[in-house]
């Protein structure tokens, strides 16, 4: 074993240690930074979820935030004084995910035959329909006033009250979601989705039911969105239709496009950039959309594939680490 291998291994250890230390240090920062970190993690979860549909299956969904709303309102209705139902957080988390999945299939069915622009238009409308429905269902949702005073969440007896608590919860959930999606990406299901993105007719010609395949993508992606929504509800302890506008859907799509379509590492990078950017440019809040536009155009012109190269994905990193550790001679 040569010196260079030891140096490379130490370097790798240093990078990993740095990541862990940085993530572990976040809770000691002032509350504002922890909130930003929470926000980043929520958007990572949402974007990784949406990426199943947009990045892998190649179906442009512009109404993703509707599933997030479904999850958030699931918590608002099932864990608040609204109907005096007080289910535990963990139960609502699963209910929210299931409700999201059902909403995903409900959206999936009518749009099965649509592709490209038409699909984008219908999903966009779906997102708006959900928001407007919530806005008008006064008896159920209090309409535009929203539902306030949601239950303080707790998980296995541990209270989830401060941004720091949610930081840990979100961090764990982000890792679970990323690992789950990475596993799916590598499985035959992920391969079938990528094939679907390339040529739907040929996929059918191979004996694969593309209806099932698409609905599965919509359902899984929406379930992740729903779970994210439940956490959002528990975190804010207040929900109103305003949080689920088309802009939010657009932001999640932008995270994917700017980070790198179909690439978990890219999506993480995209979420970090697009959440931090408006915070840094706080003084120019009214120009937020303009800034997004400029960033999007710049990225598309300079790096059409997204900030992170498609080759630099989770699989690449895992392979790199594994070969360096198990058989360094090959690297």
């Amino acid at each position: 074993m040569g010196n260079s291998v030891i140096v490379r291994r130490l370097g790798l250890l240093a990078v990993l240690a740095l990541c862990v230390v940085l993530l572990a240090l976040v809770p000691y920062l002032p509350s504002y930074y922890v909130r930003v970190a929470d926000s980043i993690l929520i958007y990572i979860i949402l974007a990784v979820g949406l990426n199943l549909v947009v990045g892998y299956a190649g179906l442009l969904d512009l109404g993703f935030i509707a599933f997030y709303a479904v999850g958030a309102y699931a918590y608002a209705l099932l864990a608040s004084g609204q109907f005096d139902i007080h289910l535990p957080f963990i139960v609502v988390l699963f209910i929210g995910a299931a409700a999201g999945a059902i909403a995903g299939v409900l959206l999936g069915f009518p749009v099965l035959k649509l592709r490209g622009d038409y699909l984008a238009i219908v999903t966009l409308s779906f997102g708006e329909i959900i928001r407007i429905a919530i806005n008008n269902a006064d008896e159920l949702t209090n309409g535009p006033q929203g539902i306030a005073g949601l239950d303080r969440a707790s998980l296995f007896g541990l209270p989830l009250t401060s941004p720091v608590h949610f930081y840990w919860l979100l961090l764990v959930l982000t890792v679970i979601v990323c690992a789950g999606v990475y596993y799916m990406e590598r499985s035959i299901l992920g391969k079938a989705w990528r094939a679907l993105r390339e040529d739907q007719d040929v996929v059918r010609g191979l004996g694969i039911n593309t209806t099932t395949l698409k609905l599965l993508a919509f359902a899984l992606s929406a379930a992740i969105g729903g779970a994210g929504g439940v956490i959002f509800g528990a975190f804010q302890r207040f929900v109103s239709p305003e949080s689920f506008t088309f802009q939010e859907s657009l932001l999640v799509v932008l995270i994917i496009i700017i980070g790198g379509v179909g690439n978990i590492v890219g999506v993480i990078a995209g979420a970090v950039v697009l959440v931090i950017l408006p915070e840094i440019l706080h003084f120019a809040a009214q120009y937020r959309l303009l800034i997004y536009g400029v960033v999007l155009v710049t990225v598309i012109v300079l790096r059409p594939g997204g900030l992170v190269s498609p080759r630099f994905n989770l699989g690449f990193i895992i392979r790199k680490v594994r070969t360096l550790w198990l058989s360094p001679s090959k690297t």
Partner: protein, 274 residues
């Protein structure tokens, strides 16, 4: 198992692409469907595979009527195909292009894992297939990065990897050069098996004549002639359909001679050469 077309017709609006066609394909042989452009060859393939609906008549695989089934069901029953224009999954590796064929075919198998190949079994089959088609060295290369000839072979491999009893090959030699075409012909001939029918639509006559057990000639959507390569080669109606009648040929010759006699024109100008 046998595939049978029974009085099949296909209309595109007022155009009759296939008229009352009856054909039967048994496993164990290689069949070729030939005919001039527009004769309806690809239409037949697309109807069998379920890409086109049938206007009237029935297509049967064994006892099952295929023509009311969705395309993926037809494929699941054992009909696989290649396409006239290459249709690989370009952004996926060569190996992945084959792996996708083993996606679980129903919710039940997907959820329970029953009758489902394990990942190792799946990979074994795919690697064996790659070896058979001389693609092992490029297993991890993106399909879109392969040279054209090897992409054609990969598409062939994808049609055979699941051991489908009926394999439809839509112009496997299109775009290949002379040597590649000969290799392709040898490869297809080598894929003939007792439990498999290979149905070829092809323009390259050398290939068709050398590997087919039976040739079906279509003209204007009707069966002109059907039989062994020798029989088809000498059939006058086939020659007419392809080359025109002898009178027409004579006319062309006369025209050419008169032009030549006029001088000023190059000797072969205006002649349709075959």
């Amino acid at each position: 198992m046998a595939l049978a077309l029974e009085n099949v017709s296909k209309h595109f609006g007022s155009l009759v692409a296939i008229r009352n066609l009856s054909l039967s394909f048994d496993v164990g042989s290689i069949y070729s469907i030939i005919g001039p452009n527009g004769a309806g060859k690809s239409t037949v393939v697309n109807m069998i595979a379920g890409s086109y609906s049938v206007t009237s008549g029935t297509i049967r695989l064994g006892a099952t009527a295929l023509n009311r089934l969705p395309k993926h069901r037809i494929a699941q029953l054992g009909v696989s195909r290649t396409y006239q224009n290459l249709r690989l999954f370009d952004g996926m590796t060569v190996l992945e292009n084959l792996e996708v064929c083993f996606f679980p075919q129903s919710w039940l198998t997907f959820l329970t894992g029953a009758k489902r190949l394990s990942k190792a079994e799946r990979l074994d089959i795919c690697h064996a297939c790659l070896a058979e088609f001389h693609l092992s060295d490029v297993a991890d290369v993106l399909a879109g990065d392969l040279p054209y000839g090897r992409q054609k072979i990969l598409e062939l491999a994808r049609a055979f990897v699941t051991q489908a009893p009926i394999v439809l090959l839509d112009e496997p030699a299109a775009g290949l050069n002379h040597t590649e075409t000969k290799d392709m012909a040898a490869m297809i001939a080598g894929l003939k098996r007792e439990d498999r029918a290979i149905i070829l639509v092809e323009h390259d006559m050398d290939m068709v004549m050398s590997i087919s057990d039976r040739i079906d000639v279509l003209n204007y959507g009707e069966l002109l002639c059907s039989g062994t390569p020798d029989l088809v080669r000498t059939n006058e109606r086939v020659q007419e359909a392809y080359l025109g009648t002898t009178e027409e040929l004579d006319d062309i010759r006369k025209l050419a001679q008169s032009r030549r006699a006029q001088g000023g024109l190059r000797a072969n100008a205006g002649i349709v050469r075959h």
